[in-house]
Structures are given as C-alpha cells and as structure tokens.
C-alpha cells in the first residue's frame, strides 16, 4: 500500500512558523533552498506549524531548483499541525494584495501537502490560488483552497493546473466556495484522484485541453456545471450534483451530506458518495485525514466511517458501515 503523500530521498527538513522555527517566511526558505538538488542529492522539505495561523503573506513562486523524482522540494504541514480535512484547523495561509496567484509551482517535481490556502482579493483581478505551470510532475495532496470572502469582486479560482511536462497529480485535495472554477485543468497531463469541489461559482472541474483524468472526484453545487469538458477515457467513478459526472460508472444528480457547511468531508450519513468509488489502492490508499481507506472507497477527499486506529471515525462509524452492507 502506498500513501498519497510524497517522501523525498534524503530529506533535509526545515521548519516554518514563529521565531522558534527555522523560517518565518516561505520566501526565505524558497530562496535559501534554490539549489541544484540533483547534485547535492538531498530533498529540501519545509514543515509548517500552526503557531499563529492564519499566516498572512504575499504570493509565492517556487522555481529555480534543479530537481528530480528523487531529489525535490516539499512544502507540507507538520505532523500534529495538519487540518485532516477540517478547513478550520491546521496550517492556513492568507495571500494578500489582490495577487494573480497565491502559491505558484513553477518547478518540476514540487510537492505541496496538507495546507489550507485562501486569498484576499478585493481588487477585482483574477487570482489562481494554487497554480502550477511552465513545469511538471507536481504533486498536490491534501491541499484545501477555500474562499473566505466570496463577495469580493476579484475572481478566485481554486487550482489552476496546466503543466507542460510530465504528469501532475492531485490527490485528496478540495476547492470550496470559490467564486470561479474549483479545479481548472488544462494543457498537459493531469490526474485528479479523490478530489472534492464544493459550492464553486463556475465549474467544479473544468477541463479545456490536455489529457485530464478524474477518478473518484466529487463535485457539488457548482453554479455553471460540476464537470465541464472532455476528460480522458480513464476517468471513472466520479459524482456530481448535476448530470455532468464524466467517465465510467458516473454517479449523477446525487445529493451529498457533509459534516458541516464549507467543509469537504462527507458525513457518515451520506449516501451520495459513500462507498460508491473505485478502489485505487494500487496507487494510494489514504484520505485527506491520513486515514486508510477501506473497500468500497468513498468518492471525494474524505473517507467517512473509517474505524478507530486508522486515524479517526470511531467505533460507531464501523457499526454504521456494517449495517449498510447487511
């Protein structure tokens, strides 16, 4: 079994947070680790702590380091400081100044994991909150993009992914309440597995070009359409609140039940996505909360009803699942 999270070879771990940590700004870590990692043969890792979240910051661009599948840069939430699917917990960044992007991945093999990002965009420009382009083979796992101020005139897209090389993979990510697209995927090769788009203002998963595969993805309540465009034939087991879920075994016109408003986690009582997904354990086996999924998989980023010992859920959830199966 494999986790959806990515480990680098020979990790050199630095910490981010208050003055007791190594770095108080992501941009200083980015500058200091802008090295030829393929020569030094280390992976540079920044583990973020929620010492004083949310962190206010200007937009950040990751670029320049020489990387490979083994030696890469990784930005992730530290253990014990993860959101575990709860958008009100964990490490959160607010990107200010009406930027055109929040986090921009412009470096091959860059990894972004288990953080929450939002953007303050009162200026009216278009912001791609998490953007990956002019590079490829990025890995985004457990990243939540949420719009805390949807009434702002600025247009905010959750994930704008258009790599020009390799395959960019998104797993267990969520886009919530954006006033534009949740996931805007195009140009290169992108796989989105078990991602959730909820209540976005345009399209939940928007494919305009490229080889875009969506598996076990959930889109709910999008203003224009939950899914739009022609997705790759390998797409399977997606769910939508309208008639647009693409690929094999689509679950269309579903009603989803969540733990809370503006939360990507489906509740134990959900029947729209729970136990309706494909088993992707050949590729990965955990959810946004680091819990091992069980068969049949749930659609979306969160596996409801996972027994205690896998990281949450609880005994009652086990009983519920057994009843459903009987």
């Amino acid at each position: 079994m494999a986790s959806s999270r990515t480990a680098g070879t020979n990790e050199n771990i630095s910490t981010f947070g208050d003055g007791t940590r190594d770095y108080t700004a992501i941009s200083t870590w980015e500058a200091a680790t802008d090295n030829v990692l393929t020569t030094s043969m280390i992976s540079e890792v920044l583990e973020c702590y929620d010492d004083s979240t949310p962190y206010s910051m200007t937009s950040i661009q990751f670029a320049g380091a020489a990387t490979s599948a083994d030696y890469r840069r990784i930005l992730r939430a530290a253990e014990g400081h993860r959101h575990n699917g709860d958008p009100t917990a964990g490490v959160k960044f607010i990107v200010t100044g009406s930027p055109t992007f929040g986090f921009r991945l412009q470096e091959n093999f860059f990894v972004l994991e288990d953080i929450i990002v939002t953007v303050d965009n009162p200026g009216g420009s278009t912001t791609n909150v998490v953007r990956a382009d002019l590079s490829g083979d990025h890995r985004l796992t457990g990243v939540i993009v949420i719009d805390d101020a949807p009434a702002q005139p600025g247009s905010k897209r959750g994930f704008r992914i258009f790599p020009n090389t390799g395959t960019t993979i998104l797993r267990n990510c969520a886009a919530i309440g954006m006033n534009d697209h949740g996931f805007f995927l195009s140009t290169g090769t992108v796989n989105a597995d078990n991602c959730t788009a909820r209540d976005n203002g345009d399209v939940g998963f928007n494919r305009t070009s490229g080889t875009i595969t969506v598996r076990n993805c959930l889109s709910d309540g999008s203003t224009t359409a939950d899914f739009s465009g022609t997705f790759d034939a390998a797409s399977t087991d997606n769910a939508s609140s309208d008639a647009t879920a693409p690929g094999s075994n689509p679950e269309t016109n579903q009603t989803f039940t969540y733990i809370a408003a503006d939360d990507p986690r489906i509740a134990n009582s959900d029947v729209g996505a729970q136990e309706l997904g494909a088993d992707l354990s050949a590729d990965f086996d955990d959810d946004i909360a680091f819990r091992t999924r069980d068969v049949p998989w749930d659609i979306g980023c969160y596996e409801a009803s996972v027994p205690t010992g896998s990281g949450g859920g609880g005994g009652l959830a086990v009983i519920y699942r057994r009843r459903r199966r009987s």
Partner: protein
C-alpha cells in the same frame, strides 16, 4: 508611515536565482526572525508608505547596495553579512531562543533601494511575479 520588515539576501544562493542584494520579502512587521533566517539574510526595519513598500517588493535584482548600508549604519560590516556562519543582524537585537526581534536604536535613517535603478517587472524566473498567463 507604517513600519515594514524588508528582507534582503546577504549573499548569492545556489542556482544564482537569488543573489546578494535581492529583496526577498517586504512584510508587515512580525518582529520575529527564524533560526535559519539570521545568517542568510539581512533584515531591515523601514518606515514606508504602502506604495513605497510595493515598489521595493518589485525592485529588480541586487536592488540593495550593501556598501550604502555602511553609510546608513556606521558599524555595518559587509564581510560579516556575507559569512554564512555569522548570524549578523545589525538592525535588530534578536532573542536567540524565541527569535523575537527588537529594532536597534542605532539605525540612522530609512534605507532606500539603489536610486539608480527603477522598479521593473522581473523575468518570469523571479519569485513573486506573474508572466501574464491566466
């Protein structure tokens, strides 16, 4: 004018994308400097208007001439600022354990970027800038 914290690279880094004198960051003051941010960067408190802060954030590479810092801070030591083992921060007193930073009183005046270079768009390989694609 509000106070900002301006972070400048103290030396050239690995791939050369960040070089000595580059403005890495302009932020509202948090009065904390990380344990690994003391030796690689020079942190400078500056009283700036919002427009000035934005202009400095957009400043081109090597916008800060370190030689000018000596004019503004009598005992500025350029050699120490370049030493990667020296946590040299002439503008702040820093608590080694907590990273809390307190502005030194010896700063003579505000420090401005090199006046001979105007803020401009950085190439797309530079951090924090957009290449116009959406």
């Amino acid at each position: 004018m509000p106070l900002y914290e301006v972070c400048v690279a103290a030396r050239d880094f690995g791939t050369g994308r960040a070089s000595k004198g580059d403005v890495i960051l302009v932020r509202d003051p948090i009065s904390q400097i990380g344990q690994k941010e003391k030796a690689d960067f020079i942190w400078i408190p500056m009283d700036l208007t919002e427009a000035e802060a934005e202009a400095i954030q957009r400043a081109p590479k090597r916008a800060f001439r370190f030689s000018r810092l000596r004019d503004l801070l009598d005992d500025f030591d350029d050699a120490r600022s370049e030493d990667p083992t020296d946590e040299y921060q002439p503008f702040y007193n820093i608590n080694r354990r907590t990273g809390r930073a307190r502005r030194r009183r010896s700063q003579n005046q505000n420090i401005e970027p090199n006046p001979n270079v105007k803020p401009q768009r950085r190439p797309q390989s530079q951090r924090g800038r957009d290449n116009g694609e959406l």
